[in-house]
Subunit: 404 residues, 2 copies
């Protein structure tokens, strides 16, 4: 008689985006004339750039002829793509990462969810609060988080590291020692970035206590500041303590095209076992490679033409950031993020809760955003806006917010 994985049952429902959807729909029904603008979701709106479209068409044509048809991809990805990534994302930034330390996947969400699997079940995880929910939920599903207290909204066995205005949204080193530390910079949801100096402290700390850092760098393309590292491997010592997860979703608009990669340096070793070989085993057993045509599209991301076009596309979203930041500041709001990241994190006015402000914004400005409390208790009294809308919608949304 089979039984279900009881750890799954511990997960409280994830109501954030469904509640947002429900409230928005109810409002639209009550006000069919209102033109509601969403600055809530983290999904891009600009089409794939011409260099990528060209590469996709060419790759599709390859698939139409026996001589150039491609069957199963190597589990770990095509070597031409891994070499290109190693050169552009690492060598060119002074990081020593070899192509065979790069694992191509169908996206950063899969990798962030699956990476916990290669660690022992009794590992203790540390996460920022607020946080991208996948880090915690995937560990809950693996039986690693203890019990959930709905009052504190916290799991008994998770180490939470509050990230608030007072600490510039970068956590303090935790008092209890974690085994696995999740860091995401530039950060979702707070839009904060971390300097090389501060990140190096984390690398030193992880090496000292024998922890591993899962570094989610999905938003690195939005970095402007010179002292903000694009990769954790810019920090000395990171090769022996850090796994880095990257995405093509936000730098190249691949949210619906799907591609990402994870770097597992061969220096990561415990008891004579390389994490690299464990992750390779997972890839080899439960994954069958990313589509050839999508890997070819990723090559165009690194072409001269592609780089130029994508710089413009990222620039488009960064301009949205500035539009939002400037307008909110002008109106007297306390705003954070939005410089090295596509997310603007604002303090709600008048001590409103995140959901109270959500309702007010929807009613008065017909704008949908994301309540900060949805990302964790330390997100309460904060609110997230994203820069992924169109320029016109973004302009109109802030105009309305300024008037409300």
């Amino acid at each position: 008689m089979y039984r279900v994985n009881e750890d799954y049952l511990k997960l409280p429902g994830s109501y954030l985006f469904s509640t947002i959807g429900k409230k928005s729909r109810a409002f639209k029904e009550a006000h069919p004339e209102a033109d509601v603008i969403s600055l809530g979701i983290g999904d891009v709106t600009q089409p794939l750039v011409p260099a990528i479209i060209k590469a996709l068409h060419a790759a599709v044509d390859d698939m139409s002829r026996a001589e150039t048809f491609h069957g199963y991809s190597p589990d770990l990805g095509y070597s031409w793509l891994r070499e290109t990534i190693a050169k552009n994302d690492y060598e060119d930034r002074g990081c020593s990462i070899s192509p065979d330390e790069i694992f191509i996947s169908d996206g950063a969400k899969s990798d962030s969810g699956n990476i916990q699997e290669i660690f022992s079940r009794d590992s203790r995880i540390a996460v920022c609060d607020p946080v991208y929910p996948v880090y915690v939920d995937s560990n809950v599903m693996a039986g690693r988080c203890g019990t959930y207290d709905p009052k504190t909204e916290r799991w008994s066995d998770v180490i939470y590291m509050p990230c608030v205005a007072e600490n510039n949204f970068t956590p303090e080193l935790p008092k209890e020692e974690p085994d696995i530390i999740y860091l995401c910079y530039p950060n979702n949801p707070t839009g904060a970035s971390i300097t090389k100096e501060r990140l190096s402290e984390w690398v030193d700390y992880a090496n000292r206590i024998g922890a591993v850092i899962i570094y989610d760098a999905a938003y690195e393309a939005y970095i402007s500041a010179p002292d903000v590292p694009h990769s954790i491997y810019e920090c000395e010592g990171a090769r022996s303590c850090a796994i880095e997860i990257r995405s093509f979703s936000k730098n190249a608009g691949f949210t619906g095209t799907r591609l990402g990669f994870t770097v597992v340096p061969k220096d990561l070793e415990r008891g004579g076992v390389k994490l690299h070989s464990l992750w390779a085993r997972r890839h080899g057993t439960k994954f069958n490679g990313a589509p050839y045509i999508v890997q070819k599209a990723a090559m165009a991301v690194y072409s001269e033409e592609g780089k130029k076009e994508l710089k413009e596309q990222v620039g488009y979203y960064k301009r949205n950031c500035r539009v939002i930041m400037d307008a909110l500041k002008e109106s007297g709001y306390e705003v954070y993020g939005g410089v090295d990241a596509p997310y603007i994190w604002m303090k709600t006015p008048d001590q409103m809760t995140s959901w109270e402000f959500f309702d007010r914004l929807l009613e008065k400005a017909h704008v949908v955003g994301t309540p900060g409390s949805g990302f964790g208790p330390s997100g309460e009294h904060y609110f997230r806006l994203t820069a992924f809308g169109t320029y016109e919608n973004t302009k109109e949304a802030v105009r309305r917010i300024q008037r409300m």
Copy 2:
């Protein structure tokens, strides 16, 4: 101090295909003039058909314009694709499966590897022997299989069901009661199929003991016989005991394009918990949807044009089957499978071991196949040939085998 998942370390190295590769390379180096033909791998060689190519190009064009650009796909797949599958693969075969019981994924390998996650850790699995290695390996990695005995090549906590010529390669109901039963029909590696009558016995058995059947139907497009079911849901009662995994790899050549789906009927319930909601939770947490362009390509699989072209393509590989079967029989070999499946399973001659026959075939005929023992101890003295080569190579290969 982090520790690794010790269950990963229990996995013995998977040397089957790497040993085949090594031996083939060594032979080619020693005989540079030899034209070695591989009938070993399960990868397709024919290009994507025109209807699919057309759909891919159109979908790429959609991604180039803001009005038709697609970001994140729904976790579970686009409703147009799920509805099309429900209609074509189920309703048209008299099976009652609704679109929202279908989960689109990046392929059957991911799904077969991940599905075990929704069951309790102490679940007892039953597998055929020989077997596709992913079923067992993914359970080993989850700590579900006990210890490995290299002498018997068996895990202490796994129930093995030998499939040999004597039982027509369909297993007997096991003496010990399993919780999770993996069945793959048409079968990889044996090429055997199962009749509706025999499969119904399994459905009844699973319902009786409260087990779940994971039914891998990746090769259903190769079925010719009228009494062989294309889906387990053709059997009465399957909705309450079976999960079905499907692939686009072998019916449409998607090995390098990546798409599959899994059906979890809402009747599957234990202790008030629907497996459907657990699998939905896994999808929602650790997966971010399959690429829009690939889901569009799958739609072409079900178009009139696509169906016609794919029938021809599958027919091409089925002709290879017949070429191999006929030639081997003519030469006095004992052969199985090859009718409802793209795999031919032959008994090695003269009591040779699978590897001895591999060496002989390579040396005498310059043909590479797959030793049956690589799929489990009951595969010893068997050998697998696949129909996925080109017609010309397949003809030439069997000509050489006949002469050796």
